[in-house]
């Protein structure tokens, strides 16, 4: 059991995860699969932020696809029309998205109840309309072409293998920042708000400020992911940033395990790669996908990762009891 608690230390988990990420390309050399892993890393970055917002703080956003889209379009437009280098695009993208998120969060997060969900739902639809209608700038429904490939400090990233490492570095950095936030005074305040707003208030936690802060941070994660995506695919269209994608992001958080950073990555990996596996079901893909969701929600309401943890703990207990009935008392 000591090993388990040792594994539970998130920094130890981070080291193991880093080793895993570095080891994968030794086994996976197929360009196509590496490409899927890049998309998984990009989705994971968004879902980590959404988990900080939903799982830790208890606020729901139904518009994160639009922050992802803004991240992609701002840098995309600057790159395609004015040949801005990617880093300059990022330097504009992040502050702009932060200000927009702050403007949405400020009035809605001061209210009790799920006004943020409503506001972000509406915002997502408005942004989607802008992407479609601002034709001269965004290319309209047919998309924006001519975005420059990623180039950082003179290094160009072309192959999927190079992209694998680049996206992995960003994912690991975002993960480390998130672990730090969760295990700090700020992270405790966020979880306290989730647990009881009145109690955190009378203990001096500025509830509105923390809610807005974590909302802005999660929007920044999404914008960063969008920036990566735009320079990876070098072509973007509104259909990647729909309301349905916002819902899919929420599903990744919930399926993975609310309030667990590992669960967030797990959920992103599962739902991103699932179409590759469900491919064998042809037309019944969506049906099977829906069934999986239902089964998980009924039998593992805390999410898959926690469900699997419980399952392992349970079989461990049962095995010990079967093979060594006398030891059952020590277990507690």
């Amino acid at each position: 059991m000591k090993v388990l608690s040792w594994l539970k230390n998130p920094y130890m988990g981070f080291v193991l995860f880093t080793l895993l990420v570095l080891g994968i390309p030794l086994v996976v050399t197929n360009q196509y699969y590496l490409g899927v892993l890049v998309i998984i890393a990009i989705h994971s970055i968004i879902v980590l932020g959404l988990d900080l917002l939903m799982g830790y703080t208890g606020q729901i956003s139904l518009g994160h696809a639009s922050f992802y889209g803004l991240g992609a379009y701002i840098t995309g437009v600057l790159s395609a029309h004015w040949q801005w280098p990617p880093l300059a695009g990022l330097a504009v993208t992040l502050p702009v998205v932060a200000i927009i998120a702050w403007l949405i969060g400020m009035p809605t997060l001061k209210l009790h109840g799920h006004y943020l969900a409503m506001a972000t739902l509406g915002f997502g639809i408005i942004v989607f309309i802008f992407f479609n209608e601002l034709g001269p700038l965004t290319g309209g429904p047919s998309g924006l072409t001519g975005i420059e490939a990623m180039n950082l400090f003179g290094v160009t990233f072309d192959t999927d293998r190079e992209w694998y490492f680049l996206s992995a570095i960003f994912l690991l950095a975002v993960l480390l920042l998130s672990i730090n936030v969760v295990r700090s005074r700020v992270g405790r305040a966020l979880r306290a708000i989730h647990g009881s707003e009145v109690a955190s208030g009378v203990l001096g936690v500025n509830i509105a400020r923390y809610k807005v802060g974590i909302f802005v941070l999660s929007a920044l994660y999404a914008a960063l992911a969008g920036w990566l995506y735009a320079h990876y695919i070098t072509f973007i269209s509104p259909s990647s940033f729909t309301f349905m994608f916002s819902v899919k992001l929420v599903t990744m958080v919930v399926i993975g395990s609310l309030g667990s950073l590992w669960g967030a990555i797990f959920g992103a990996a599962l739902l991103t790669s699932m179409p590759e596996f469900l491919y064998v079901f042809h037309n019944y893909e969506t049906l099977v996908f829906g069934l999986i969701l239902i089964v998980v929600m009924i039998f593992m309401p805390m999410g898959l990762l926690r469900g699997i943890e419980d399952l392992i703990a349970w079989s461990w207990h049962t095995a010990r009891e079967v093979f060594n009935p006398d030891s059952s008392e020590e277990l507690s």
């Binding site: 700090s184 005074r185 700020v186 405790r188 979880r191 647990g195 009145v198 009378v202 001096g204 974590i214």
Partner: protein
């Protein structure tokens, strides 16, 4: 004459036609244990909710150090040195006992989003300090053995004590306890009474709302009796105990 720490003047709070608090004048003097008692529905919890900023008053005003505070949000009132516990427990039940107290220390510690995300050196040091002060508080309240347990899994009596420990993390000048003995057995109640005494000895003023008369009469320096939102008597425990109006409120007319 000790200084007045918190004061309400002509405080009213109505819910529709119900006068939960009506024209209430109350003075809490520094360094004492003061109690507010009264029959069910007398307005005691409403008083706490208004003073801690959870509910705005209908009219009247609350003062801390002679400054009006009823426009302030709860976290600003907490920053003035007033915090409280809840009758229906409001623990962060998914967090550990230690983490609950660490949240309590929110006001006495520093570190925002950016500093925490990058784990700057001072954040790291601050974290050590928060942890060790919180452990001291757990020791003071006798919960140190349960530090790493999830708060929601504690027995009920311990959860009540944890609410107090968490509030102590805020290093309040005025601690308001909302029925801390509700649901406790005799032993737990006498432990609680001893703990409240030790908190007062630390220089923290206590305002207590409680139904357990023995507890109130034993530890209070001053008792205020309210009924139907109005103050009907106040004074030292012995004075109040024999007051005719108080007996009437509790036992009924005739």
């Amino acid at each position: 004459m000790t200084t007045v720490l918190m004061e309400t003047r002509s405080l009213c709070r109505y819910f529709g036609g119900v006068q939960a608090i009506h024209e209430l004048d109350l003075e809490v003097r520094a360094g004492l244990i003061q109690s507010v008692i009264g029959p069910n529905g007398a307005g005691k919890t409403t008083l706490f909710n208004v003073v801690s900023g959870i509910l705005p008053p209908t009219s009247g005003e609350v003062f801390i150090d002679s400054a009006p505070i009823s426009d302030l949000a709860p976290h600003r009132i907490a920053a003035r040195g007033v915090t409280r516990t809840f009758q229906n427990l409001q623990l962060f039940s998914d967090m550990t006992v230690l983490e609950n107290v660490m949240v309590g220390m929110h006001l006495n510690s520093r570190g925002g989003f950016i500093a925490s995300a990058f784990k700057l050196p001072h954040v790291w040091k601050e974290e050590q300090r928060i942890r060790s002060v919180s452990m001291d508080i757990l020791q003071f309240t006798g919960l140190e053995k349960h530090a790493s347990r999830v708060a929601g899994s504690l027995p009920f009596g311990r959860q009540r004590v944890l609410e107090i420990a968490r509030a102590l993390g805020a290093e309040p000048r005025l601690l308001m306890l909302d029925e801390p003995a509700a649901g406790l057995n005799n032993r737990e109640t006498s432990d609680l009474s001893e703990l409240i005494g030790r908190i007062r000895d630390r220089g923290i003023t206590i305002l207590l709302v409680e139904h357990d008369m023995d507890l109130v009469m034993n530890i209070s320096d001053h008792v205020t009796v309210i009924d139907q939102g109005r103050k009907i008597a106040e004074g030292e425990p012995d004075q109040v105990r024999n007051d005719e109006k108080v007996l009437k409120a509790y036992l009924g007319e005739e």
